[in-house]
């Protein structure tokens, strides 16, 4: 097991968003987190990578357990060096080219030799099919291309796990395919991924396990095929029906 979260809680101004969620991810797992907007799934992911500080809970990463209420900045930095995050709206560094976006974390944060970082950066961009866009700035790229650069940026740091926060939600429908196919390729290669998504196709066909979160609690989770074929909870089947009808 690479990541385990126990009883994570988070409130914003007294509004409880996460009401004690447990989650575990094995090495090589691809876990999809589904749920209606405002149900807490993005907050969960942001708390797991400390973009928000959880109020309480426990997080085990690579066999070390941390109390989320007391974790130090140093511990956070150490964990983050081994994880990566892909944002809904890409968040590429706007003043950096594609290749600089990918190498920045290597050269600056990890003090890697520039030549080696460039080599890794080129390989990462090649993997997402953008080897012809190395010197383009984010604003010169389409949304789908930007998100693929963001995935390359995540890959370059050789993370134990990549967190995806609704990676296709900001994209035009015709651009989601290119991002999803890159993600599928990573999943097939055994990359560990935790993916908050609205893409039911991805959850159904690519992820090994699916979790359904609503009102800050896990309603149901299970092996993806089973989850979609035979949901146990009434609420889950309703959600699956509603989201499938939209597609």
């Amino acid at each position: 097991m690479i990541l385990q979260v126990k009883n994570i809680r988070k409130a914003f101004d007294g509004m409880e968003v996460l009401k004690g969620i447990d989650l575990s991810v094995d090495k090589g797992d691809v876990v999809a987190i589904l749920g209606a907007s405002g149900g807490g799934k993005t907050t969960l992911l942001r708390c797991i990578n400390f973009l928000e500080r959880a109020d309480s809970g426990e997080l085990t990463f690579d066999n070390r357990t941390y109390d989320l209420a007391k974790i130090t900045n140093k511990e956070i930095a150490a964990i983050r060096r081994r994880t990566a995050f892909v944002f809904q709206n890409y968040n590429l560094f706007l003043n950096k080219t594609a290749i600089q976006n990918v190498t920045e974390g290597l050269i600056v944060a990890r003090k890697m030799d520039k030549g080696k970082a460039m080599e890794i950066g080129r390989a990462a961009l090649d993997k997402v099919g953008l080897s012809d866009r190395l010197d383009y700035y984010p604003n010169q790229l389409s949304g789908g291309q930007q998100q693929r650069v963001a995935i390359a940026r995540a890959l370059a740091t050789d993370p134990e796990i990549i967190y995806f926060d609704e990676p296709t939600s900001a994209l035009d429908p015709e651009l989601t395919g290119e991002v999803l196919s890159v993600m599928k390729e990573l999943a097939d290669e055994g990359m560990t991924m935790l993916v908050v998504t609205h893409e039911i196709g991805f959850a159904k066909n690519v992820s090994k396990r699916t979790m359904f979160i609503e009102n800050g609690v896990v309603v149901e989770q299970g092996e993806s095929r089973e989850f979609f074929a035979h949901p146990k909870e009434e609420r889950t089947s309703e959600f699956i029906r509603a989201i499938s009808a939209k597609e």
């Binding site: 930095a77 920045e104 940026r153 740091t157």
Partner: protein, 222 residues
């Protein structure tokens, strides 16, 4: 125009331009550079919300922006000697202009820092960069691009404001002009002449500002 007037205008031109090149420009360059350093530090302190220091910066900005530059010059040059701090005219002027520019530019830069999307900082921390690395490599460069036109304006203002330094005996263009007027009695022509020289300086700077802006827009609009 009389021949005498033309003669005066021509012979005074290099006499006025020389202190422009030797005093006005160095005074502006030194003060503006020092002011920018102050401004970046002050803006970062406010952006990072450092307690106590932030209050001190607010106070500094409040006092400097709320009092005339001329008064500040007099306090430093004529006032401080009475408490034993005796400064030459040129350094006095540099200090005043730098402190003044620091206060104004810190507000410009602070606003620009705040205009950088918070996702840029989050992305930086997710790839393992420290706060300072994120500021230096991601946020400040983007903020500078936003602040650039305003800072350019402030630089042009400062070139003109250096004429105030004549009041504390800094031998810059305007003071030199006053001296020439005192012997030639041609105030209209000579003050227009020095005005034209300021105009040339400003025009060159605003051209440079526009050129710089173009170069900075390589990575385009957000």
């Amino acid at each position: 125009m009389s021949e005498r007037l033309i003669e005066i205008l021509i012979s005074s031109f290099p006499k006025i331009l020389l202190p422009g090149l030797l005093t006005t420009i160095p005074l502006t360059a030194i003060s503006f550079a020092a002011g920018l350093v102050i401004a970046v530090i002050a803006a970062l302190i406010q952006f990072a919300n450092v307690p106590v220091l932030k209050q001190i910066i607010r106070f500094y900005v409040w006092v400097i922006r709320g009092t005339p530059l001329l008064v500040q010059l007099f306090v430093v040059f004529y006032g401080l000697p009475s408490v034993g701090l005796l400064l030459d005219p040129f350094p006095s002027a540099c200090i005043c202009f730098a402190i003044n520019e620091g206060a104004y530019a810190s507000e410009t830069i602070r606003a620009s820092l705040e205009s950088v999307p918070s996702g840029q900082i989050e992305a930086g921390s997710c790839v393992g960069m420290s706060w300072w690395q994120i500021m230096r490599r991601i946020v400040l460069p983007q903020a500078f691009r936003t602040a650039f036109p305003t800072l350019g304006n402030e630089l042009i203002s400062m070139v003109k404001d250096t004429s105030l330094a004549a009041n504390i005996t800094v031998m810059e263009m305007f003071m030199q002009t006053q001296r020439i007027v005192a012997v030639t009695y041609e105030p209209l022509a000579l003050y227009i002449e020095v005005g034209v020289i300021y105009l040339i300086f400003s025009t060159v700077l605003s051209r440079m500002e526009r050129f710089g802006e173009k170069r900075l827009s390589v990575y385009g609009k957000r």
